[in-house]
Symmetry: C2
Subunit: 294 residues, 2 copies
């Protein structure tokens, strides 16, 4: 059963004149006649009274007409819904990333995007890079914002990895601390200092641990936290020193590393075998075009 046939049947039912209906449908009269005949055969009943001059719906035709009309409306609505996805008028995006990405970066990028495409809904998930990669591979996330390098297990060809921003970490110092007012710090400065860090497992923490080990510095870990805001609050309260992304320090009071840039490479990861939806394509472009302020 061809949907075009159903549409033609509806037009014919409305006009009651096969020749005229065929003309309106850019068909010849025998073609429409054949379509109706086929439709009637597939239903097993006559849909029209053949009355020499003109056609009139039978009871069966009247009955079927309603169903066919509703079904076609539904299909048209489906096409419209699919089209609205393509026009970015609707759709959902599931994005995941670490604390820095979801807290400091995504809000600034999603804001303008949402203004331009208010129909797109976001689902944001904050988790360690490893978890994000797994979620992307499982198809739960459309896009992941993670720190390179990836865990070896996930680095297979199943992921599409696109380098993104280079994020620099800065050292937050409490107001009364001797290091305060300096522009840069050196690893030796951290000896025996109280340190507030992300909980282990996060990419930022791993980066920090690696540098501490390389420079043989052993600060006193006084606290492990999960969010950037709590770290800055703790530092401000004088509990200790803390590392956060430079992006999370808009006032610029954090100290950059004077030995070697303390940076990490952020990247976008997707499943290679997933074709991007229009919404994802557009948002990905927004991500890649974004530059940190200043």
């Amino acid at each position: 059963m061809e949907t075009d046939n159903l549409r033609n049947f509806l037009v014919l039912a409305q006009t009651g004149n096969m020749t005229r209906a065929a003309g309106r449908l850019n068909l010849t009269q025998p073609a429409l006649s054949g379509q109706v005949k086929k439709l009637e055969q597939s239903l097993g009943v006559a849909l029209f009274h053949r009355q020499g001059r003109g056609l009139a719906l039978t009871q069966a035709g009247e009955t079927f007409r309603r169903y066919a009309g509703d079904a076609l409306d539904l299909l048209a609505a489906g096409q419209e819904a699919v089209g609205s996805l393509g026009r970015l008028a609707s759709g959902t995006l599931a994005i995941g990333g670490g604390a820095t990405s979801t807290t400091c970066l995504l809000p600034a990028i999603i804001g303008p995007f949402h203004s331009r495409h208010p129909g797109i809904r976001f689902t944001i998930r904050e988790a360690p890079s490893r978890t994000i990669v797994e979620a992307v591979l499982a198809g739960d996330l459309d896009l992941g914002l993670v720190t390179l390098p990836l865990p070896a297990a996930a680095a297979g060809t199943r992921l599409l990895v696109e380098p993104w921003l280079v994020d620099e970490l800065v050292l937050l110092v409490p107001p009364a601390h001797p290091l305060r007012r300096r522009r840069r710090f050196h690893w030796r400065d951290l000896h025996n200092q109280p340190l507030i860090a992300f909980e282990s497992g996060s990419a930022v923490r791993q980066l920090l641990d690696r540098h501490l080990a390389e420079h043989a510095v052993a600060p006193a870990l006084v606290m492990e936290l999960r969010s950037i805001a709590s770290i800055t609050s703790m530092v401000a309260a004088g509990i200790g020193l803390g590392f956060v992304s430079r992006l999370a320090d808009p006032s610029g009071q954090g100290l950059r590393c004077g030995d070697r840039p303390l940076t990490r490479q952020l990247a976008l990861v997707e499943r290679r075998d997933r074709s991007r939806s229009s919404a994802l394509e557009a948002f990905r472009a927004s991500l890649l075009a974004w530059k940190p302020p200043g």
Copy 2:
């Protein structure tokens, strides 16, 4: 867009495996692949992620799946509804006739029919034969029960006329009347008798008038009524004599005409260009098979 394609799309979406889905659908894998490709082209979006091994719905596919499923359900419901018409499980019949037909005949015939086909709904219209014929020609009634001969204007080829029962009129006599207890009457008996008759325009009345004129009998018309029940009541109350169908006199107290049978030919009339619905075909058969009791 072919409905079979949509159905196949749904099966494929469910299995996620093209080869297996094609097998279940009695298709080869390339055929199904082509169908999906065509469907995607007509929608302008990819419905599946091609992931080397197996398929997974895209967001567009997930969206469209719901609409397509609902639309197919609707079409199936339409087919079912049309089928139920054919199986006499549903449908409507619009029947019209004169007072005798609708009051005395139809109830007895519709009763068993309705027991056998409780899904069929009747619309009964009582009106003079001329009005019934017009309603049949206008398509408002599926079937008319009328007295022959038809008005000349309606006797064209547009009507299909099927002779039915021969109905005999009998004379009802009040209990205290001298004619009471007789089995037959003669037209001369009616001289100066008070007569209760159907209102003019009805077929029964025309028949009566013709016979009265032929026999040059002039009874005193004391009342013109529209219903059989009111005539029998009036006669019983002693107002006068009255003619009704023998079918409306189950007790057999009415007097038959002793001069010449006072009968009329009833007939079924339909529009010739209307094909009969299953319900009409079945009911028509019930009508033609019916015999008056006794």
